[in-house]
Amino acid sequence: MTVPASESGIHKRVVLAEADIDRALTRIAHEILEANKGSRDLVLLGIPRRGFPLARRLAQKIAAVDESVDPDLITGQLDVTMYRDDLRRNPTRSPLATQLPPSGIDDKVVVLVDDVLYSGRTIRAALDALADLGRPRIVRLAVLVDRGHRELPIRADHVGKNLPTSSRERVRVHLAEIDLIGGSAVNEVVIEDRL
């Protein structure tokens, strides 16, 4: 699955293709239902930008198992920009919308969904943001990729794939809902390394 060096001088390696991603999400959807003993009180909150389409896909897979679930009514988006601990280190970031499902999050089982788990700082910010919005009964974490290198005591409950990486490498997730590469929508997870 190794692709030759691209014209930009970056070495790219596809680690999850479209089918791999789909399989991983199916498994996570089942795990979520199993851990929750059903779909009761379940809310999936995606962290922008790629956590949100992943949360939608998971909701659809859950609805496919449990016909009582309306995927639109259990999915939401949780923006964590204003809670980040690195706001002053980076260029100014515009916050994105936070949209909660109509049921709210009080006493719900909230599953935070993100594409890549790395230092854990985004999840730390998400937990703070969540606390300002309500009081869930349980908060769980689902990620497509866990690449290691944690800087905070945070771990995921559901992981699509554990990817051992060096911290020099970059893990990039492309999802058809957001990413167009060469004019076509792509679903893949790529590891990039500067040569």
Binding site: L87, T92, R93, A97, R121
Partner: protein, 342 residues
């Protein structure tokens, strides 16, 4: 963006970004916990050389909702030259490690002076300078107009412009910082701006502005504006031979009950009436107009906090470089914790 000094030098991109961020801030204002930690540990100084409780508390609420520490510095007295100079004041604030200075000043250009002087390193926000500009007032007006315009068009306001909208600004344009800031900002956002007022209260040089000028309010209303913004008539103009009497002013340029009825007659059901406040009821605007469903006066006040939160957030949160396009940002290392390379 390092400072917010005027809307004339605000690009369409930055203006839209401010308004879009303000939309998110407005959503926070509707939550039970109306506080964000974004500016924790930062200090915002409200430096007011002119009394304006409304503007000051709006900025204060905005800073506090973002968890910034707020210091209110009211420099009393009408003349700044008495006592401490602007330079000394600025250096005092610098010594107190102010991260942002929100300045209201009777002299046009005082915020620009503060920003360019090197006396202080903080971000400078113009909260109204003399007869020059009042950019956050124009931003909250634009925010209010954009929500109205987007609602009429059935689209979300975030990301949208004022293209196709016709806004009439009426009154003492010569002495109005609100009018100046609105002319530049609303045209930048794509609106068509009309001005109406007595010729004595329109500046020499107005012909070079990107708007049409009317001396007769009813001629201007005949252009079917989507919004009518009435400017406050300052008491000190009333005795300076700009017009014969307040009665005559009110008859010719006031938004009275007759003109309110005219909007209905003309079928302008969606035209809103704006006023930056405080209003002289019965002078530039009748009570019926101010209290009518067309009036956006209270929405303007509410939106003021969101727009000022967006301003403080965008000036203080980053490392002073503009955010690159999203895709570019993804390609850059060290932009997010999850993608960070050491």
């Amino acid at each position: 963006m390092k400072h917010l000094l005027s809307t004339q030098d605000l690009s369409a991109r930055n203006a839209l970004r401010l308004l879009d961020v303000a939309e998110e801030m407005a959503a926070v204002g509707e939550r039970e916990i109306k506080k964000l930690p974004a500016l924790r540990g930062r200090t915002v100084v409200n430096l007011f050389f002119e009394d304006s409780t409304r503007t000051r508390i709006s900025f204060e609420a905005a800073a506090k909702r973002l968890s910034a520490d707020v210091i209110n510095f009211a420099a009393k007295g009408s003349s700044v030259s008495k006592g401490e100079s602007l330079k000394d004041t600025a250096q005092t604030l610098e010594a107190m490690s102010a991260d942002a200075v929100v300045i209201r000043h009777p002299a046009s250009g005082a915020p620009a002076r503060l920003a360019a002087s090197g006396w202080i390193d903080a971000a400078v926000v113009n909260a109204g300078d003399g007869t020059h500009e009042h950019p956050t007032q124009a931003l909250l007006d634009a925010f209010t107009l954009r929500r109205h315009w987007a609602q009429l068009g059935g689209s979300p306001s975030a990301g949208s412009t004022l293209a196709g909208m016709k806004v009439l600004i009426v009154g003492d344009v010569l002495h109005s910082r609100v009018a100046r800031s609105n002319v530049w900002l609303l045209t930048t956002l794509g609106a068509e701006v009309l001005l109406a007022g007595p010729p004595t209260l329109l500046p020499v040089g107005v012909a070079s502005w990107p708007c049409t000028v009317y001396y007769n309010l009813d001629d201007a209303l005949a252009q079917r504006p989507d919004a009518v913004m009435m400017l406050r008539l300052q008491a000190e103009r009333m005795n300076a031979a700009f017009f014969p009497s307040t009665r005559e002013y009110s008859r010719r340029w006031g938004f009275d009950d007759g003109r309110l009825a005219l909007l209905d007659t003309m079928g302008l059901d969606d035209t809103v009436i704006m006023h930056p406040g405080p209003m002289n009821r019965g002078l530039e605007i009748s009570s019926a107009a101010a209290d009518s469903p067309r009036s956006t006066v209270l929405a303007q006040v509410r939106n003021g906090v969101s727009v000022r939160m967006a301003t403080l957030y965008l000036l203080l949160s980053g490392d002073q470089h503009d955010e690159p396009d999203d895709d570019l940002q993804d390609l850059q290392p060290a932009t997010t914790p999850e993608g960070r390379t050491p």
